[in-house]
């Protein structure tokens, strides 16, 4: 299966990485082929495992207020702040349309 322009477009937007030259596309193609080897294993009737922790117990915390009230410390990380609010760029700037 060839990698289509739509898929490349989509990947570049997500990763914010430009790999449009043919070397990049070929490398991507090879990487997909390599990963496709996974399909050779028969997994019929086997439940997928997300994590080796799946048999661990999920700890439940009591509903008490134990944290917070550290505005000053958190604000030390802010490059810019306005009256204890973090400052961020306006909304989501849409990416310019990519040409072929």
């Amino acid at each position: 299966q060839a990698v289509t322009v739509e898929v490349l477009d989509h990947l570049e937007r997500l990763a914010l990485v430009d790999f449009r030259d043919s070397e990049g596309v070929e490398r991507l193609q090879k990487a997909i082929q390599f990963a496709d080897q996974l399909h050779e294993v028969n997994t019929d009737g086997v439940e997928p495992m997300d994590s080796v922790l799946e048999d661990r117990c999920l700890y439940l915390r009591g509903d008490d207020v134990t944290e917070g009230n550290c505005t000053k410390e958190l604000m030390k990380n802010a490059r810019e702040k306005v009256e204890e609010y973090f400052v961020a760029p306006p909304g989501n700037i849409p990416l310019p349309k990519l040409e072929e």
């Binding site: 989509h10 997500l14 997300d50 994590s51 922790l53 799946e54 048999d55 661990r56 117990c57 999920l58 700890y59 439940l60 915390r61 009591g62 509903d63 008490d64 207020v65 134990t66 944290e67 917070g68 009230n69 550290c70 505005t71 958190l74 604000m75 990380n77 306005v82 009256e83 204890e84 609010y85 973090f86 400052v87 961020a88 760029p89 306006p90 909304g91 989501n92 849409p94």
Partner: protein, 454 residues
Amino acid sequence: AKACGGVWRRAWQRGVGGPVSGARQAFASNARGGAGSAARCGLVPWVPVVGLEVHAQISSNSKLFSGSQVHFAAPPNSLVSFFDASLPGTLPVLNRRCVEAAVMTGLALNCRVNKKSLFDRKHYFYADLPAGYQITQQRVPIAVNGSLSYSVCVDNKMSQMVTKTVKIKQIQLEQDSGKSLHDDTRSQTLVDLNRAGVGLMEVVMEPDMCCGEEAAAAVRELQLILQTLGSSQAVMAEGQLRVDANVSVHYPGEPYGVRTEVKNINSLRFLAKAIDYEIQRQIKELENGGTILNETRTFDSKLGCTIPMRDKEGKQDYRFMPEPNLPPLILYDAKSLPANMNHQQVVNIDSIRERLPDLPSVKRAKLVEQYGILPEHSFTLLNEDGLTEFFENVVNQTQMKPKKVIGWILNDLLSYLKQHSLTVKESPVSSFLLADLLSLLEKNQISSTAAKKV
């Protein structure tokens, strides 16, 4: 579809015209797809389809995965822990109270509670989501396949109420995001993370509704249920209950049309308005030969219309993945209760079920049975905060029969309160005084006109 039939029949009749009785019959039989005998009549009965996603803030002291406080108005970024700010090295720790709230809600909505549910990450970029992902339950949520029954009035007459049911697809636990304040003049966004990480129950309703009125009625009933359970205070004005509507229209017999998502609706009244506007907009667009875009729109309450949201262009790829820091959430019941586990770590579905309070529908039935009032009266009593209690107090302290008392409460007292925008708690006439007054009336010591003046 019966309640909606009237509304949409009137809507297209204005443009098309045609025999009234024929239209009603045609619409009723074609409401959910099927052969278009309406088409043969030359009429166009568009079928609107409405589904809702309701986010209810869980009523708890601390957040879903951290110990910072849940509180409405507080200085910006004062109720934020290192985890909420997504500082490296922090991990989520699940709040037991949030799990119980979700189980209660699932049981009240007749859901199957999943004894094993999983957490996932939903990725997207936005300033109020510091981690770049939201922890939610996309694959296996905590409760599925429930139902919610609600009532709508037929033709705006309270005396003819029809019971409808909407299916609940699922209920999932997820994190709330922070709040963004857009400052367009200085081209920046101010972010307050106090709300980031607060526990939410997302209730997904199947697209079983067909107009704004049904949607508003369903949400109102859900609101009453949540408030009765105490799992959420569900006050829309304070953002504790947020509703997104998915709206589409299609021609009977054809597949569902393209749907749009309408967000930013902050009251029940606007919910009904926004949905009805969007249905009309889609019908007009399609009848003019246009197409509907699968987009997200916001409701402008001042203009009374929906407009496209600039930030949500194109379909988002959320790259769902299992949350690696949280093992599966296991719930127990009486049969599967583990013998030697610390009971702080055990959530027992059966014991939660036993402790469920009377749901609104049960309370209404009891009121009707106990006091002999009409069903629609019981609806009004439960709809106004504190009115049921007031009514019962009056009945207990007066000689007048409940069936007569209800008339005074609903017609005289309530209309007065509404006229002066007062809540029941702010009523200038206490239940004791009213009881006294009505007793005097019963004994014919005063006339009813005099009583009304008071």
